[in-house]
Symmetry: C2
C-alpha cells in the first residue's frame, strides 16, 4: 500500500539524546564526566522513559520537560553529581538544542521532494520540540510537529498515534512510522502503521505484540522505503 | 495511624530475581555466564519490567510468565546466547523457585506473631507465585498471595493496589506496602499506602509523584516499623 505520510519519533530518532552529555564532557570543566558520560546519558534516558511510562499508567501526567529534569536528577545523584547545579543547567541547556543525526536533513529533503507528508510525533513538549527543530535547521522540512501534550498522555498510549490520523486524514496503512526506540516502533506496528525501527545500537528486537516491518541501521534509506 | 496489614511486593523484594542467573553461572556448564551473569540478570529484569509497563499502557495484557520469557529471550540474544535452549530452560526453571532473601522468614514470622495481616501483591501469575512461595517455605507465613491476574493489568495501575483494600477490608492508611522497586513504592505512596522502599542497591530515590515514607537497606526492621 502506498505510503503518503512519514512520521518520525524525535528523541533518539532524529535527535541524538546522548549528545548533551557527550558535549558537556568535552567542554572546559567537563572533566568530571570524562569517564562516565555514556553511562550518565544512558541512565538519564532510561529514567526519563521509565517515568513517562509510569505516569501513563497511573494517569499522573506532566510534561516531558519535567520528566527530563526528573530523570537527570536521578542520574546525577547516581553518579555522585547531585550538588553540581552548573552541570545540571548545562546539560539541560544542551538537551534543548540536541544535534540531529547527520543524515536527517537530506533524508527529509528527499521525502519532501517526493511529495510525502513529513512530521514529528513525540513525547516532547511543544516548546522543547520547537527548540530542537529550530536549532537543527529542520523547520522547513517538516509539515508539522505533533506533541503528546495535546492528548495529555505519553507514548505508547494509542491516542498518541491517533494524532497522526487526525492531522493528516490518512488511513494507518498509508503511514510509515519511524523510530529508533524499539518499544515505540513495536507499539506503532501493533497500532497498524507500517513501521521502521532504526536500530542504531545493534540491539535485539523487542518482544512485544507488534513487530516492526523494517529494521534499519540509520535513516538513510527511508526515502526508498517510503516510495516502495 | 496503626498499621494492621503488611503487603509485600514479590520479585526483588521477597525473592532475589538475580538468583536464577547467579545459580546457573555456578553450575556445571554455566561457564559461559561466568563473566556476564550480573548484566544478563539486569537486562532480563529491565526488559521484563519494561514489557509489563508497555502492555499496561497499550492494554495488551498477557501474564507475567510470558513477559518473563520475553524479557529473557531479549537478554539472551543481547548476550549472544539466543540459540542456547538448555540454558534458557534452566534459567526459567530457576526463576520458578527463586531464593527468598535470608531475612524474609523471620521477618514474616514476627509480623504474624504481632497479629498483623501479611500478603504478597505481585505482577506474578498465580502459578509462578505459588511456586516461589512454596519453594521458599513461606506458605504458612502469608495470609494471601494477590496477583494482578485478577484485574488483568500490571502495576502500577491503581486497580492493582485496590486488591489490597478489597481483600482485607482496610483503609489505605492502615496498610504498610513494602517494595524494593522504587517505582512500585512510589506509586503505592501516591495511591495512599504507608510505604517502605527497600533500597538494596543503594540507588537514588525515584523522582515520581509519590515518595516512600521509609527507605530501608533490607527487610529486617519491617516489624518495628509496622508496630510504630
Amino acid at each position: 500500500m502506498a505510503i503518503t505520510t512519514c512520521i518520525f519519533d524525535a528523541y533518539g530518532t532524529l535527535f541524538d539524546v546522548s549528545a548533551a552529555a557527550r558535549q558537556a564532557a568535552a567542554e572546559p570543566g567537563g572533566e568530571k564526566l570524562a569517564e562516565h558520560w555514556p553511562q550518565l546519558a544512558a541512565d538519564w534516558r532510561a529514567k526519563q522513559l521509565q517515568y513517562s511510562w509510569l505516569r501513563a499508567i497511573t494517569g499522573d501526567h506532566t510534561d516531558f520537560w519535567s520528566v527530563t529534569q526528573d530523570g537527570l536528577d536521578w542520574a546525577l545523584e547516581a553518579h555522585g553529581l547531585a550538588g553540581d547545579a552548573a552541570l545540571r543547567e548545562r546539560l539541560l541547556a544542551l538537551y534543548w538544542r540536541l544535534q540531529a543525526y547527520p543524515e536527517v536533513p537530506q533524508m527529509l529533503a528527499r521525502l519532501k521532494q517526493a511529495g510525502l507528508n513529513t512530521a514529528i510525533l513525540s513525547n516532547g513538549s511543544p516548546d522543547m520540540l520547537a527548540g530542537a527543530v529550530q536549532s537543527a535547521g529542520l523547520s522547513e522540512l517538516l509539515d508539522d510537529v505533533l506533541s503528546v501534550e495535546s492528548v495529555g498522555i505519553f507514548k505508547p498510549a494509542p491516542q498518541v498515534y491517533d494524532l497522526v490520523l487526525q492531522r493528516f486524514g490518512v488511513a494507518k496503512a498509508h503511514v510509515l512510522f519511524v523510530s529508533s526506540n524499539g518499544w515505540d516502533a513495536g507499539a506503532a506496528a501493533a497500532y497498524g502503521f507500517a513501521t521502521a525501527w532504526v536500530d542504531r545500537a545493534g540491539e535485539p528486537v523487542d518482544r512485544l505484540p507488534g513487530r516492526p516491518d523494517h529494521i534499519l541501521p540509520d535513516l538513510v534509506t527511508i526515502p526508498e522505503l517510503a516510495r516502495g
